[in-house]
Every structure is written in C-alpha cells, then in structure tokens.
C-alpha cells in the first residue's frame, strides 16, 4: 500500500533523525559539589599560608617595631577577640547597611540612566562620554564637596558611594545594549517585535551578561568609596569598619588595624564570590562557559 510506504518512510526518517541527535549530544558530567569545593579551597589555603609566611618573615626581619607592624601571631588572636565581640558585629552591620543601601540606589539610578541613554540618541552623544568620565574620577575626590553639601552625615557617604557605583552600572547596561547581536535583533524583528517590545523581550535580556559585569565593577567602586568615606566622615555613636580603622591608627593599635583590614578584605572577597557565582550560572545557562567548570 502506498500509504504504508509513506508511513514507513516517515518512521524511518524520524528514527534516523533521533539517532543522529543522540549521537551529536553525547554525555556530559559534572563533578560532585564537595569535589568542586575542595578543588577551589586547597589552592586558596596554600595562598593564605604563603601570605602569612611572608608577613611573618617581614615582621621577624625587625625593620619595624611590633607596635607599628604586628605579626600574624598577635593579629590572629586579636581577630578572634573581635569576632567574639558583639560591638564588632554592630560595626559590620552599620557598614554593610550603608554598602547595600548605597549599592541598591546606585543600581536603580544606573539602570534608569543606562536605559535612557541607550535608547535616546541625543542623550547618548552628550551624556555617554560624561558617564565614562565620571567612572574614571577617583571617588575620594568627591568627599570634600559631599561634606560641604551634606555635612558629616551618612548622606554624605551614600552620595559618594552612589557616584562611584552608578556610572559603572549604567555603562554595563549601555555596552550590553550596544553589543546585542544584530542577528538576534533581526530575529526579534521577524517575530514582529518593535520598539518597547523589542527592547523588553530581546535587547534587555541580551545585555544581561554585560550588565552583570557592570554590577560587579560597580560593587568594587562602591566598596572602595564606602571605606574612604568611613575614614573621612566619622559619625558619633555609629561605629563602622572604617571608623575602627581610623581609631586603630590614631591609637597606634597595629594588631587591631591589621585585623580590621583582614575583615575588609574578607567581605570584599565574599561579595565578589557571589557575583562570580551569578556570572558562572548565567554563563552555564547561556552556553558561554568553557569546557571546564
């Protein structure tokens, strides 16, 4: 029967296609979580030990007295003492609150500015280079003006944190919009998307990796600005990490100073790892990651 031959032919076609698909996909495997964690932890551990060793050697060399440069053997117990002190946690909480509020506001402002600048041509010409200029401006240079405007208040600190982070975030979005693959724009066009719909469904999602990179850079600027701000703008009855750093120097408390610095470094690394994790998961979902990971 002719109909039967047709069915046979189409079954065969299906089978051939399914076979080819199976061959081309192959199997992929990812290591266990514990295995991957260990793979990252031990090189870190070695690096930390190395730094501690160099530090101890410099201290032992006797170039600086103990009250100027404390060694790891005095700083680590000091660090332990701080970690047991509730006052320390309230200082960290104040600093982190400022960081998060400043960063969230910077993100909001960066998003709005980035979206407007990437969409409106005349704005792009005028404001685009201004944003890049702002990005290169050292944030500490804003503090004198900020203190004049807002006095020695938290607003003065937040103002500079936002100025430090928002340009990077806006730039990330603008770059993402600019580098939207033209083929995806054409595909969106063919699917009937225009203007806002095209922007919402194609351009914004396509710019996500670049936006994320902008967020990460923005965080780094925000964190630096915040530390500079807390050193300069000391607010009474509001202990913060930067303030502790300031008083440790005033009191020549070398161990306390170094312990505080280690905490600042630690927070920076942890937040960076959060961004890294977000970036990795995005890359994995988009198929941008390299073979390993």
């Amino acid at each position: 029967m002719a109909v039967e031959t047709q069915n046979n032919a189409s079954d065969r076609l299906s089978a051939e296609i399914a076979g080819l698909d199976a061959l081309e996909l192959g199997g992929k495997q990812r290591g266990s979580i514990a295995g991957r964690l260990w793979g990252r932890l031990w090189p870190m551990g070695i690096a930390v030990l190395l730094v501690l060793a160099v530090w101890e050697i410099v201290v032992l060399s006797g170039r600086w007295p103990e009250y100027v440069l404390a060694g790891p053997t005095t700083v680590i117990p000091e660090l332990g003492a701080r970690l047991a002190d509730p006052e320390f946690y309230s200082a960290v909480a104040v600093t982190m609150r400022r960081a998060l509020v400043g960063f969230a506001l910077a993100m909001l402002i960066g998003l709005i500015i980035g979206a407007l600048v990437s969409r409106i041509r005349p704005l792009r010409a005028g404001v685009g280079s201004l944003i890049t200029g702002l990005q290169t401006m050292p944030s500490i240079a804003w503090f004198p003006l900020s203190i004049l405007l807002f006095g020695l208040t938290e607003t003065a600190i937040l103002f500079v944190v936002i100025l430090g982070a928002a340009p990077s975030i806006a730039n990330g979005l603008i770059a993402g919009v600019d580098y939207t693959p033209p083929i995806l724009l054409r595909a969106g066009h063919m699917l009937g998307f225009r203007r806002l719909q095209l922007y919402r469904l194609v351009i914004l999602p396509a710019s996500l990796p670049s936006f994320l990179a902008g967020l990460k850079q923005g965080w780094a600027f925000a964190w630096r600005s915040l530390m500079a701000g807390e050193l300069l703008v000391i607010i009474a009855n509001q202990a913060s990490i930067g303030e502790q750093l300031h008083y440790a120097r005033e009191l020549a408390d070398s161990a306390g100073l170094l312990a505080t610095m280690i905490i600042i470094l630690f927070i920076g690394i942890v937040v960076d790892m959060v961004f890294e994790a977000a970036d990795t998961s995005l890359r994995r979902r988009w198929g941008l990651h390299q073979a390993r990971n």
């Binding site: 076609l13 081309e24 469904l201 979902r285």
Partner: protein
Amino acid sequence: MTAPLTEHTESRPEGATPAVRLAGVSKMYGTGKAGILALDNVDLTVAQGEFVCLLGASGCGKSTMLSLVAGLDAPSAGKIDLDGRRVSLMFQEPALFPWLTVSANVEMALRAKKLDKRQRRASALEFLDMVHLGGFGDKRPHELSGGMRQRVALARSLAQDSDVLLMDEPFGALDAMTRDLLHDELERIWRERTLAVLFVTHNVREAVRLGDRVVLLSSRPGKVVQDFPVTLARPRRTDSTEVARIAAEITDHLRTEVVRHAR
C-alpha cells in the same frame, strides 16, 4: 490522507494563486555615484504551495531579496505584493535566544496570538514535535547540536503561522548527512502545510533537490537570468543521477554568469 509521496510528480497547476509577487524590484544601497545597485528590476512570482530556490554566485543580492520580501528593508523601486500573507524568515544561523529554553524560544513566535501561558506552551511543543524535537522543550539552545538548533529555528518560523517561508541558506553550516535529513524534513512540512517557500542557496544540488523551480540570479547587480523548472518526482535524493544531471546543467549556466565578471 494525503496522496502518497512516491507517486507525486511535480508540476503545479498553471494559474495557481501567487503568494509572493515581485514586480520591477530594484534595491540601491547608498546614493549617487557611491551607490551600489544590489538588485536590478527583478520580476518573480512564487505560487502558494510552491518551492522556489534562488541560486547565484556571491554578490547577487539573494539575501537582499529575502530582506525585502520579509519587510526588513524597503525596495528603492518596484513593488512587492504579498496580498496580506504572513511571512517568516529563517537565517543561516539559528538565531535562537540563548536566555530562553527551546520551547520558550518557539513561544516567542506565539506572543502575537491571544493565548494563555499553558496554551502557548502546548502549542510550542506541537511545533517542536513537528521537527522531531518534542522531548527537548526544556533544554537550552546551546545544549543542542547545530542541526537541532536549526530545526528549533524552523519550528519557531512555523509557529508564526505564516504562509510564506523565506530561508536564507538555512542548512549551509551543517554536515552533509544532517542536511540530507533536514531536506526530507523540510519537504514533508512544506507539503503538509502548503507553504510558499523561497529558499536561497549557493549549493546547486540542494536547489535541485528541493525546488519546484530553480531561479538563477546574475551578480552585481542581481537580476533574474534564468528560471529552470524541476519536474523530477519527489522525494528526490541529492545523490541521484537525475539531480546530478540537472545540477550539472545549471552549474554550467552559473559558471557562464561568473565568467562575465572576469574582465
């Protein structure tokens, strides 16, 4: 039941409804002396349910022609008449959105319709089934092979519910075996849905394998030089002697076209 494939010989009834009509279409890029004439006075008609392959050396404005028919660009002169038909375009690359799953990619084509989420998803899976990818809806595009991605792109084009399918060297980047299978697949879908297909390629055998007609374009500027009807019975095989014979004949014409430029 449709007519058995093996007994079908090609020749569309004369005076079938035209789906796409290009009349005196020219396209100029730039202006004045610096301008480049990409297409020069092209007349071409594709009937509903007809499969037309556009063939030409590089620089013949094949892709320009598709962009014009797709409405991505406007002709400098002449008229393109689609009589209100919907058009979808497939590119050489799959052009899938990497942030969406395979089924969500197809669902993008269904946004214009008033469907709720569940219906949209169900409809997308039907279209994926049509290209034998029903089980891959939740995968990401990068998890599929090149041939599979191109089939997702085909499913997305079909989901637009268009009557005219424009294809710009859609299988150019695939290996021969995958391409053969996709030819069968495309032929089957074209037949089931009586689409008008305008298929651009530089592969002569592919054109003869698929087309009811093979239209040869000249280069710089692009012009229709010849129109070969292909009346071989379907399904055809790319490696059959009949296809090879016709392909050789068309290749000779194509070469003559190319030689004209060797001045």
